[in-house]
Amino acid sequence: MSKLLPSAAKFLTSSTIPKAAAPVVSSSSSKFSTKSEATFEIKPYKLHKLEQGPATSATLSSEDALKMYEKLAMLRRIETASGNLYKEKIIRGFCHLYSGQEAVAVGMRAAMRDVDSVITAYRCHGWTHLMGVSVLGVLSELTGRRTGCSRGKGGSMHLYGKNFYGGNGIVGAQAPLGAGIALAHKYRADGGVCFTLYGDGAANQGQLFEAYNMAKLWDLPCVFVCENNGYGMGTSVDRSSASTDYYSRGDYVPGIWVDGMDVIATREATRYAIDYCNSGKGPLVMEMETYRYSGHSMSDPGTSYRTRDEVQEVRQTRDPITSFKEKILSRELVTPDQLKEIDAQVRKEVDEATKQAKTEPEVGVEELTGDIYRNNLETLIRGLHPAAPLQHYEVAPRN
């Protein structure tokens, strides 16, 4: 979690005092918003085998608006920093950016409870931060430094945190794990729901359908979230999928299509999904239609299978941050100054973390052979040279 912003802090404090005393009408000061809440219409959901969908309008408090804006801005900024670090050759290997898709994660996280869990694929930087890992924890994992959330040993695709079962590198391989985690929720009766995320590319992997089947067969509290950003690597959805109605592809698993560019829609849909799963009805598929501005990974310029105009058009008309900003400003939930303050604070926090992610040392070379086993029976790890084996190290505490 990023540091609480001064303006948001003020707001939180003010909300604890009686409503009458709250600065609801303060047109004299641009520091404070003028309205305490507003109701927004949501683009209609498409439903598959469901009688009733999520609410089509939602109320947002000024406080919620500020928090969500901060998260959206933070995720965008983290990815900008990641892209730059990659271009500077400080991030090596793979790097998949989330820019354009922020509303999916931010809206979902806003509706999730602490008991819920998440497992996703490799476009995971933003999710990791939302699940509680510091910006430094994310960025220095990307740069492979010891302050990284996986000690720099996982890298861009393998970020982990509490109730966050990772970025996973193999397309679709996380889906059955999500079903297993959901069974654990059910078995422990903790009321938690597992959000199992995958992309439109993974939507055609066989194991996803195996996971759907098991989840429905045993009515597991699992929400399969298809982040449809339009392209599975370099192939558009129309060229990869016989049916692009991903919300209906669970067949016997009911589904919802959600405007994944609208953070209010993704929040409402997630609230609905939690209620649905907790009522014992089993799994749900949520297709979040969204867009990624960058290429699939850093080695893909992202312009050979789509036009620059297309990307530009989305940026101008559907950008999740710009559109949310316009909404909350026009309804006077927040003031331009408040947003500017958030932007400055986010920039400062990410810049500081970026600096540190470049200067932190890597873990020692001895961790090459650390944590391969819980209890290494051989003590030594064999390498290429028979006379020079390496010691196995127990780095993480054993419990």
Binding site: K153, Y165, A211, D371
Partner: protein, 336 residues
């Protein structure tokens, strides 16, 4: 024309007879040498390997409330009946059937184990484990390492029947341990009989790293021993010296151990020589101390194995490293 036909059918008849004879020979391509040494003292009861495995899972489900057993058709015991009666005893929420989807079973088991349950997954045949190969090699084996030790799925044990039975053919006879043997993060274990199976399965289930437990399926019923009734484990990563000698060392695992024990007897009877017989038991990791036998070589190591061919159905007797092939190779070695 008629005579030609007769001749042809004669040839076919001869061939059929020959193949049948081979098949007969197959069903006893080894003699089972029961274990006489007990790992623990106390009450024993006669069990075949299927019953010993059943007993190990029974103990686990009884003593570990988080333990769950699942796989294709395990509800009624599985095709080899190793889970017989366990669903009745522990309920459908702990012993349950999965759909036919090995990759899903493995991933599901990894997730379940990662979230804190003891997951025992049965893959119906080791030959079916390949759809799950990605999950086991890329996900299970690397979970601890790639999360910097934050997450692991050590409570996962994948059981799978492996090896030849005489008629399995291409997809019901394979021994995939070599593929997994090159995967840091996994443990690979193959027992040679009921006593070993019970002790090794229990240690695999309790081991905090994911284990692949391959059960030579021909031993399920043909191998019977006096197995200790109580809970016991055998050490992982340890080989066992079953017979000591001075002239050569024979190393094997699973069913092949019994072939080698017979070869050792043949060497004694026909050549007047004694040889070591070692059961590797743990394919990954190898027993470090036992590996030192390679420091005393007087001849190059020779391997007797199946041919570099898909596991053949009708040619199984020619494919297996039977006692004659092993004995011939031993002779060669002794005259190096």
């Amino acid at each position: 024309m008629a005579s030609l036909l007769t001749q042809k059918s004669l040839v076919i008849g001869k061939l059929t007879k020959y193949v049948n004879d081979c098949a007969k020979r197959l069903s006893s391509h080894f003699i089972y040498y029961p274990d006489n040494e007990k790992p623990v003292s106390g009450e024993t009861t006669k069990m075949n390997m299927m019953q010993a495995i059943n007993n190990a899972m029974d103990i686990t489900l009884r003593d570990d409330p988080t333990a769950v057993l699942f796989g294709e058709d395990v509800g009624f015991g599985g095709v080899f009946r190793c889970a017989l009666g366990l669903q009745d005893k522990y309920g459908k929420d702990r012993v349950f059937n999965t759909p036919l989807c090995e990759q899903g079973i493995a991933g599901f088991g990894i997730g379940l184990a990662t979230a804190g349950a003891t997951a025992i997954a049965e893959i119906q045949f080791a030959d079916y484990i390949f759809p799950a190969f990605d999950q086991l090699v890329n996900e299970a084996a690397k979970a601890r390492y790639r999360s910097g030790g934050q997450f692991e799925c050590g409570a996962l044990t994948v059981r799978a029947p492996c090896g030849a039975v005489g008629h399995g053919g291409l997809y019901h006879s394979q021994s995939p341990e070599a593929y997994f043997a090159h995967t840091p993060g996994l443990r690979v274990v193959v027992p040679r009989g009921p006593i070993a199976a019970k002790g090794l399965l229990l240690v695999c289930i309790r081991e905090r790293d994911p284990c692949i437990f391959l059960e030579p399926k021909i031993l399920y019923r043909s191998a019977a021993e006096e197995v200790p009734v109580e809970d016991y484990t055998l050490p992982l990563g340890k080989a066992q010296l079953l017979r000591e000698g001075t002239s050569a060392t024979l190393v094997g695992w699973g069913t092949q151990v019994h072939v080698l024990l017979e070869v050792a007897q043949m060497a004694e009877d026909q050549l007047g020589l004694t040889v070591d017989v070692i059961d590797l038991q743990s394919i990954l990791p190898w027993d470090e101390d036992t590996e030192e036998c390679f420091l005393h070589l007087e001849a190059p190591v020779s391997r007797v194995a199946g041919w570099d061919a898909p596991f053949p159905h009708v040619f199984e007797p020619f494919y297996l490293p039977d006692r004659w092939r092993c004995f011939a190779q031993l002779n060669k070695l002794l005259h190096y």
